[in-house]
Amino acid sequence: MRAMGVVMALVLGGCTGTGPVLSPHLPHGDRGTTVELRDTPFFAQTDYQCGPAALATLLQDTGSNVTPADLAPEVYLPARQGSLQLELIAATRRHGRLPYVIKPRLSALLEELRAGRPVLVLQNLGLRRLPAWHYAVAIGYLPDSDEIILRSGTTRRKLMAAARFLRTWENAEGWGLLVLRPGDLPSQVDPLAYIRAAADLESVGQTRAASQAYAATTVRWPDNATAWLGLGNTRYHLGELEYAEHSYRQALRADPGHLAAHNNLAMLLAERGCYPAALDTLDHALEISRPDDALRGTLLETRREILRDRSESDTSAGPDCTLVLPGIPGPAASD
């Protein structure tokens, strides 16, 4: 999209000064400290396959065993002679890691490096009109010489002048990817974006990984009902029903008007055989909902199905439904 390239230049451009590039983006007390993540693995790229090499580097850094050869069929597009960002993101998920694209800001990149996280960066080593795309892994920086340290191509330790790095990175829209173990949060993190990333993991079937990611969000943002809902849903799918119920209750503590949490809690209560409690939950949700709420239909249908189940069930020996599940050991200390 040409327009996008133009506005990106407007937004990010203007870095043609002759002063140091790095130090204005480093914290005040820390402007001389070098950072180098020496333990980051290295895979020399073959042919045009810098995408698989760079992603394998980050995946192995998080403890995965995957190699570039494993990844190439997943991400390398022979017709394009390269990999697309979306393919790298999808492959990251397939290997049970959470992909998080950082803000297109040098300060964000440097902060992740300081936190010990290498960053997969896209660079345009050519011209804007004649791009030469390249994936590399940023592993550190040298403020005194104003350089960025990269694992790049066939070079294990490539030093690039920060000004040049910034130009090549900005010409690639400042695209930088973190590959996170589920449960690890970036240094600069937007809750909605991270929860969305967890939901994307969930929707490709990486349920355990998504659950761990949601759990981390409930620790960091205990009042975020969506995070608790995600935790509940993933625990449900993993068969951890008591944990799931606990999570839904936490969602309702965080947001008493959360219709989805009411619905899902009611379903769990019904599965336990606690039909009156289930129906009470749904009735309350319907009462507080607005007439145009998208979830009303779901609530009504859940109610119908629970009534059906109740009529078909043997209610002679029910569970103790007065028991609100005791505080289950979990990420949140409260409750």
């Binding site: 327009a3 996008m4 506005v7 694209v101 950082i102 829209e173 909605l192 969305r196 969506t226 779901t298």
Partner: protein, 127 residues
């Protein structure tokens, strides 16, 4: 409407046509999945960003230069349906996560994308 804008509008139309709109699931007794529950939250976050964009003086200048009435644009944004917001969100999902709409894709792009969504001819004050 000048030809550059027509061409841009055409490009955005093509992009959006390539984005598959998902409709809300028919009512089933099933767990409400997390992405669906997030829709409302993400909708209000998107709307807030759009409105903040429209309130900016530089955006309004840009709109006026393109011959668009900012007030009409704001009204149309406020009336965006869930499906339209979802389509926009799908597109924005391909952009870096965690970056605000304005930071990443620039004021002008926001304006042009919104134009495509709301139907370009509706809010032009001159042709």
């Amino acid at each position: 409407m000048n030809s550059t804008l027509k061409r841009k509008a055409g490009i955005y139309a093509l992009i959006l046509q390539l984005v598959i709109a998902t409709f809300p699931p028919t009512a089933l007794a099933a767990l409400v999945q997390t992405p669906d529950a997030m829709a409302a939250e993400e909708r209000s976050a998107s709307l807030q960003q759009f409105n903040e964009a429209l309130a900016r003086e530089d955006v309004q200048q840009q709109l006026l230069q393109l011959g668009i009435d900012p007030g009409a644009a704001r009204q149309r944004i406020a009336a965006l349906t869930d499906a339209e917001i979802a389509r926009l969100q799908n597109h924005l999902d391909t952009l870096p996560a965690g970056a605000g709409v304005l930071e990443v894709i620039g004021v002008v792009f926001v304006v042009l994308l919104i134009l495509e969504l709301v139907g370009v001819t509706n809010i032009f004050s001159k042709f």
